[in-house]
């Protein structure tokens, strides 16, 4: 491994009106290594990455590339210094072909300015072959998986001669197998001398792949050294600035009678023979690979998608769920996996977002009871420790973790009996994760039932009483708490 320094960030400071976002940031990225940045949301990682990519200008400090001072004014300039950014939310044009996306903004043209489609096809084919990707150049990008699109982005960066690639939460929406593929790719890039800045909340991945780790907290670097010299607990403690003694606040609580029974739920071409039950006071997990049909089952159960056939019973009574309205009436609620799409109403206030599902609670007798709304929302915000400047702040300006907590508060106001959580901790920081686990435990203690869909096995194993495993649209296994192991779950899942 090389000791040669590729990127040096020295004394970087950045303030925004009334806020010191970054304070004297110092660290180095060595050539051909993976450098992980850890820290909670809002710790300053993304601000720093935006400075490196030329989106923000620093107030003070200097960036060196190959030990030469550089001034990066905009992302195009950053690219010319060999810096590439793979964002968490991938940027691509779904209706355009693989080749067009790959060469977007730099399509080869002839001297009359006409696109040279033949050259484009040749170059694309060469790339796809080199990378071993089984796609046609004229295939529309929307037909590819998230992981393949990500891979294309990386290839695109490399083909642009990138020598520093920033990856922001690259594994947040890809499967375990795809993660391995990504890691193989990263290893290859390292060998070519490319430096990777790897931002992730998943510490096991960080420790698997990183050569060096820098921990951020509150706009400062609290520690930066070789990954070998860190333990995972140390990193967590540094990140949150306090010790989290128990990652999973699971408590054993009495399990009561069956509350939810699902029999032979069937949706043509999507899932089949889905039969399961959930008891009072129970936390039931759904494991499986991405695409196994877990989210689809939950969406149908919640009334978002139609089913072809099957029965749903709550408290032993068969109910027809045709819309979300029906499931809310039966005290069953669901936190969606896609917060931006099915969760938040970005331009409206946190209060409106929290009360949107319980309009009837506040609108009766012909008018709106604003005071009651305010009290109720504040109470639940406090309970969930939502951090917001005010109740009128628009939800889009909160961090992911806080948005998630607002959405949970929205459902808690309805006092549900059954809480379905689909990937509740995706993209949220350690602190917010812990709050969500605590809420689950709290619900179970009150005799409510929780269903958790998650792709993170440790959290399923840590929190659940029972786990169903799904594969290809069917339930392939059911495990009790004393039989939980990652190996067993993976066996059923594949």
């Amino acid at each position: 491994m090389s000791q040669e320094i590729k990127l040096r960030v020295s004394n970087i400071e950045k303030s925004f009106p009334g806020v010191k976002a970054l304070n004297k940031i110092d660290f180095v990225v060595r050539k051909g290594t993976v450098h992980a940045l850890c820290g909670e949301n809002g710790a300053g990682k993304s601000t720093l990455m935006k400075i490196i990519n030329g989106i923000y200008k620093p107030d003070a400090g200097q960036i060196f590339i190959d030990e030469k001072p550089v001034k990066i004014q905009n992302p195009i300039q950053a690219a010319s210094y060999g810096i590439a950014m793979i964002a968490q939310e991938l940027n691509y044009v779904p209706e355009m072909s693989v080749e067009e996306n790959l060469f977007l903004g730099r399509l080869p043209v002839n001297r009359f300015g006409k696109v040279d489609w033949k050259k484009l096809r040749r170059d694309t084919l060469k790339f796809l072959q080199d990378e071993g990707l089984p796609y046609e150049p004229d295939q529309k990008l929307k037909t590819l998986t998230v992981s393949d699109i990500q891979m294309l982005e990386i290839i695109k960066a490399v083909s642009n001669n990138a020598s520093i690639i920033v990856m922001d939460e690259p594994t947040s929406s890809i499967t375990q197998r795809e993660v391995e593929k990504l890691f193989e790719k990263i290893a290859m890039l390292k060998e070519k001398g490319v430096s990777i800045i790897y931002i992730s909340h998943k510490l096991d991945e960080v420790f698997h792949i990183a050569d060096d780790i820098t921990v951020f907290r509150d706009g400062t670097v609290v520690d930066s050294r070789s990954a070998k010299d860190f333990t995972m607990d140390e990193v967590i403690a540094l990140m949150v600035g306090r010790k989290i003694t128990n990652v999973y606040p699971k408590e054993e609580c009495p399990i009561g009678e069956t509350i939810l029974e699902v029999e032979n739920l069937y949706s043509k071409g999507i899932f089949k023979d889905i039969t399961f039950h959930v008891k009072k006071g129970e936390i039931v997990g759904f494991a499986g690979l991405v695409g196994a049909g877990r989210t689809e089952v939950m969406r149908s159960l919640f009334g978002l998608d139609p089913i072809t056939s099957g029965k749903v019973k709550i408290h032993g009574e068969e109910i027809k769920i045709q819309s979300v309205h029906d499931s809310i009436a039966n005290k069953m609620v669901m936190l969606s996996e896609d917060r931006r799409r099915y969760g938040i109403i970005p331009v409206r206030s946190v209060m409106e977002n929290a009360s949107i599902s319980s309009l009837k609670k506040f609108f009766y007798g012909g008018h709106w009871h604003a005071k009651q709304e305010k009290e109720m929302v504040s109470r639940y915000f406090q309970k969930m420790s939502v951090k917001t400047p005010s109740l009128e702040t628009t939800i889009q300006s909160l961090s992911g973790g806080n948005q998630q907590k607002v959405l949970l508060a929205k459902w808690m106001i309805l006092e549900p009996d059954i809480l379905i959580l689909d990937e509740p901790t995706r993209g949220v920081d350690v602190g917010a994760k812990f709050e969500i686990y605590k809420l689950m435990t709290e619900m179970a203690k009150q005799g409510k039932s929780v269903i958790m869909v998650s792709s993170e096995l440790p959290e399923l194993i840590g929190m659940c009483d029972r786990i169903y495993v799904m594969n290809k649209g069917r339930i392939t296994g059911e495990l009790q708490r004393d039989e939980f192991t990652q190996e067993k779950i993976m066996k059923y899942a594949t």
Partner: protein, 334 residues
Amino acid sequence: MKESFLKKNKIMEKYSIFIVLILMFIICSVLNGNFLTKNNLINVARQLAVGTILAYGEMILIISGMLDLSAGSVLALSGVLSVSLYKATGSLAAAFLIAILVAVVCNLINAGMITHFNAPPFIATLAMSTVARGAALLYTKGQNILQLGDYVVFGQGDILGIPIPIIFLIVITVIIYYLLRHTALGRSLYAIGGNEEAAIASGIKVKLAKYKVFMINGILVGIAGVLFMSRVNAGLPNGAVGYEMEGLTAAIVGGTSFSGGVGTTMGTLAGSFIIGCLNNIMNLTGVDSYVQQIVKGAIIALAVIWDIRSKSKKTSKLILVEEKQEKQLNLNTN
């Protein structure tokens, strides 16, 4: 410090449109002595009534992520039917109700096309616009209906010295304000326009809400139809062409965001008055009517650019304030 910064920002954002309106009043009264006379102002308000009522309809639709391009044509159709029913029966009440009924039916068809056949609101209401205009012309055989008799009371009469159109405008303003601020439907509309999929996943009956909002728009268009025909003292099948654009303009100038989920009654009222005053002062000072059009267009462009700019600034500042706050809270808990 950050709180006062936030607050100041919010106050500016909330009231800037009214500051513009007040400035406009001052400038107009300086430019022309006739502007600030009671007669002129009442005249402005009377002229504005129809446009503002249509603007409220457009506003609630834009807030819900839709719009109505058929307002002007449906206004004409319901207006001519109302006028001819009055001439046949002599009943003002029946004439008033038929206008509302016709406009509501047209709007429920709009809603049906949009909710059940997933037609984009732009296309659905554009189609309705053509159909309604055609129906109005067919029914009247293209002839204006003249000599309306007592029908003119809606547009020209007054109660206790206040012109009836202004009374309609005030009552409707109060109702729309109440609808948006103090009802569950109001909240649902903001949610639907802000993120329709999230609204569905939150248990809001989105289709029903869309029917309701189009129905309300229908009532407003019907009333506007009666006021319009009665003010001009004729049933004009070719009248009110392009009035939906006037309504859209007022709503947008008043801060209603075309991306949905944002807009207020008072903002739209102010937007409508800003345009009305502008028209009035340009008339009073003898500005060429073609130049007037150019000025109006420029104002729409400015309003939209201003809206987008202030929005992007606001969000980025808020995120930072929030990050900082979070940090401080983190420190406190440690």
